[in-house]
Amino acid sequence: MFYYLGLAAVLFSVGLFGVLTRRNAIGILMSLELMFNAVNINFVAFNKYIVTDDLLGQIFAIFIIVVAAAEATVGLAIVLVLYRNWRGVDMDHVNIMKW
């Protein structure tokens, strides 16, 4: 189980790092997918080794994949809007939410 969780943690960290450092909005969305998948791996691993009686974790993982797909759609729509407004998808320009 250690390997599963380790893989998930590494994957999550890589995703988080990507989310926090990528300039490109598409890149950020991709990193987010990585983080989702890290969570999915966790669910599946816990379902396999800790709560074994039903397929709750696996079903939840499938739900997350579905929701992530929807989320990616919304995210891409936002990115499109961003592109129209700024003629680019550089997240450094998205800094109007401040004092």
Partner: protein, 696 residues
């Protein structure tokens, strides 16, 4: 009609109210309306007297409860018996005459209507005093007559003497009234009701200790001493002559000063229960009478002579009443009560007449000083004639009314040799000073030609009341003729009617004495065969003593007023220094303390408020850089705190709650973040600047 007796006082009250509020702008209407009201009262009084006569003096009483406490009731009611009926008629008669006379006397006065309003108010109070059926009511009206007396003495208040005189009268009578009030309290405490009949029954039943009855009687008598100007409170009455002459006539000769005598007569049942109190009354009466008569011998102010004469005659009445109480207490018969009340009646008429006559003279010559008069008889026939009638009456010359009443008084003193001699001596002095006054005023050579030339008879409206009163001065006393078996003595009496047998000896003696008094005055002031100056020189110290009225005013000044003033001054100093000092000191301390509090407020409270605001502001200044606007930075923020809370969770799991430590970790994280964010925004800025430079 007797049941309408309550109207007798109320009609003048109506006149007062209407005149004060509606009629005073029209002098004619206000004066005649007042007179009409008192005339109606007079008519009712006549009917009431007739009905009371028909009832043989049986009392009529009606009352209703005014204030009710659990075991004590204050009642308002009227009591009409023989004494009341007689007094009502006397007061209304003199009141009507005086008011009519005032139309002439007060003509052209600035406050003409107000004068009539005051007179009406006085008549209301006086008549109310007479018809009252309990001590509570009589006290109220007692104070009301005191008030109106004050108002009327000070009617010409712009004259300082008048203003001083009214204060003196008010304060002096107030001393007596205080005693009266104490007497009332005693009645209230020991009897529990103020109704005359109940009080007298209670006293007569012997339920009250003798000492208490004596004290009660003396305290009630204190009121009479003040109001009737008896020694030692007689000093206010001569000064009260500063008021208009009709006021002197109505209030200070005929009616209000008689209220004290009336009070003693009314409460006679208390006095007969205490021989000691009655003795005090009689002694006060005779001392007053003697003092006043001797002073009147040498005075030069026409009204003051009459004022001292009034005091002297009131002393007579008081003495007669006191003697009645004393003799009755010892089981003897006495003519004192009848004598006192009869003299009260007759005196009201002839003294009222004397004052109105004096007013007529003053009206003509514009001075009160008899040294500046003289020889007025041919110019003022009616005044002279009526004045002479009144003088003869007061001197006790047969057969005028004064003779009969004075004779009764002398008869009452017959069993007390000392009093008898003093009474006769006073009678002699009375005759002497009255005719001294007459001769100096109306006969002889005019001593001030200018005033004499100006003198004239008064208008009809002033002489008519004189004539009415002259008629009464002659005949009013005839009801008291001793041969008359159903006269005054069988109508106005206390206890059982007592008929004194006429004494020829006393009548002759009193007539001789009166005539010799008149004769001496005739010799000294008309024939000038005895020089008054020589007599005065012979008895210079006595003359000076009398002329200065036994120095009563000066003695009171030294004994009472000066200590009071000194005490007042001391109290003023005390007030100014100590109390004001304390007050101001308190104020100073308050200001000081306020300053301290202001400092505290500014620096500590405001400091705390502003300080907290400053801390928040500075903290916000530091923290606002967290809000970079960069979404990724927010993400970092969230992630960092997730880790931070994770750490704290681990910390709790391993070491339990340790707040300082956790707070330090939390704050450290916050600080780290904020510094990072600053760094980030600084970098951002520089990069933007670089970009803009590039663009340029």
């Amino acid at each position: 009609m007797t049941e309408y007796a309550f109207l007798i006082p109320l009609l003048p009250l109506l006149a007062f109210v209407l005149v004060v509020f509606f009629l005073r702008w029209n002098e004619k209407v206000s004066s005649w309306f007042s007179i009409a009201m008192i005339l109606v009262s007079w008519l009712i009084s006549v009917v009431v007297l007739i009905e009371t006569l028909a009832r043989h003096g049986a009392p009529y009483e009606a009352q209703y409860t005014f204030i009710s406490f659990t075991n004590f009731h204050l009642e308002i009611g009227i009591l009409v018996d023989a004494l009341t009926a007689v007094m009502l008629l006397v007061v209304t008669t003199i009141g009507a005459c005086t008011e009519i006379y005032s139309i002439g006397y007060m003509k052209g006065d600035r406050l003409f209507s107000r004068f009539f309003a005051y007179l009406s108010l006085f008549l209301f109070s006086m008549l109310g005093l007479v018809v009252a059926n309990n001590f509570f009511m009589i006290f109220i009206f007692w104070e009301l007559v005191g008030l109106t007396s004050y108002l009327l003495i000070g009617f010409w208040f712009e004259k300082k003497v008048a203003a001083d005189a009214c204060k003196k009268a008010f304060i002096t009578t107030r001393i007596g009234d205080l005693g009266f009030l104490v007497g009332l309290f005693m009645i209230g405490i020991y009897v529990g009701t103020f109704n005359y009949g109940d009080v007298f029954d209670s006293v007569a039943s012997g339920a009250i200790p003798a000492g208490i009855v004596t004290a009660m009687a003396i305290f009630v008598f204190c009121g009479a001493v003040g109001k009737s100007a008896q020694f030692p409170l007689h000093v206010w009455l001569p000064d009260a002559m500063e008021g208009p002459t009709p006021v002197s006539c109505l209030i200070h000769a005929a009616t209000m000063v008689a209220a004290g005598v009336y009070l003693v007569a009314r409460s006679m049942s208390i006095f007969v229960a205490s021989a000691d109190a009655s003795m005090v009354v009689a002694i006060i009466g005779i001392v007053t009478s003697l003092i006043a008569a001797t002073i009147a011998l040498v005075q030069i102010d026409i009204k003051r002579i009459l004022a001292y004469s009034t005091i002297s005659q009131l002393g007579y009445m008081i003495m007669a009443l006191g003697l009645y109480g004393y003799d009755t207490a010892h089981g003897h018969h006495s003519a004192g009560y009848v004598a006192g009340t009869l003299h009260l009646t007759t005196h009201a008429f002839f003294k009222g007449l004397l004052f109105l006559g004096a007013g007529s003279v003053i009206h003509a010559v514009h001075t009160n000083d008899i040294r500046e008069m003289g020889g007025l008889a041919p110019k003022m026939k009616i005044t002279t004639l009526t004045f002479l009638i009144a003088s003869l009456s007061i001197s006790g010359i047969f057969p005028l009314s004064g003779f009969w009443s004075k004779d009764e008084i002398i008869a009452a003193t017959a069993h007390h040799p000392v009093l008898l001699i003093l009474t006769l001596a006073i009678a002699f002095m009375t005759a002497f000073y009255m005719f001294r006054l007459c001769f100096l005023t109306f006969f002889g050579e005019p001593r001030d030609q200018q005033r004499f030339d100006h003198a004239h008879e008064s208008p009809r409206i002033m002489t008519w009341p004189l004539m009415v009163l002259a008629f009464l001065s002659v005949f009013a006393g005839w009801v008291g003729i001793p041969w008359l078996h159903h006269g005054f003595s069988s109508f106005v009496y206390h206890g059982q009617p007592h008929h004194t047998e006429p004494s020829w000896a006393l009548m002759i003696i009193s007539t001789v004495i009166a005539v010799s008094g008149v004769g001496l005055a005739y010799l000294m002031y008309y024939k000038k065969s005895v020089s008054p100056e020589k007599v005065a020189d012979r008895f210079r110290p006595l003359y000076t003593l009398l002329f200065n009225k036994y120095y009563f005013d000066e003695i009171y000044q030294k004994l009472v007023l000066d200590p009071v003033m000194a005490f007042a001054r001391f109290m003023w100093t005390f007030d100014a220094r100590v109390i004001d000092g304390a007050v101001n000191g308190t104020a100073w301390l308050t200001i000081l303390w306020s300053n301290v509090k202001e400092w505290f407020d500014t620096w500590i409270v405001d400091g705390a408020v502003n300080g907290s605001a400053w801390v928040v502001k500075q903290g916000s200044n530091l923290l606002r850089f967290i809000q970079t606007g960069n979404v990724q930075f927010y993400g970092l923020f969230i992630a960092t705190f997730a880790v931070l809370f994770g750490l704290i969770k681990v910390e709790i799991a391993s070491q339990g709650y340790n707040w300082p430590r956790m707070t330090i970790i939390f704050l450290a994280g916050l600080l780290l973040l904020s510094l990072t964010s600053r760094a980030i925004s600084a970098r951002e800025k520089s990069r933007q600047n670089a970009k803009e430079e590039n663009r340029l």
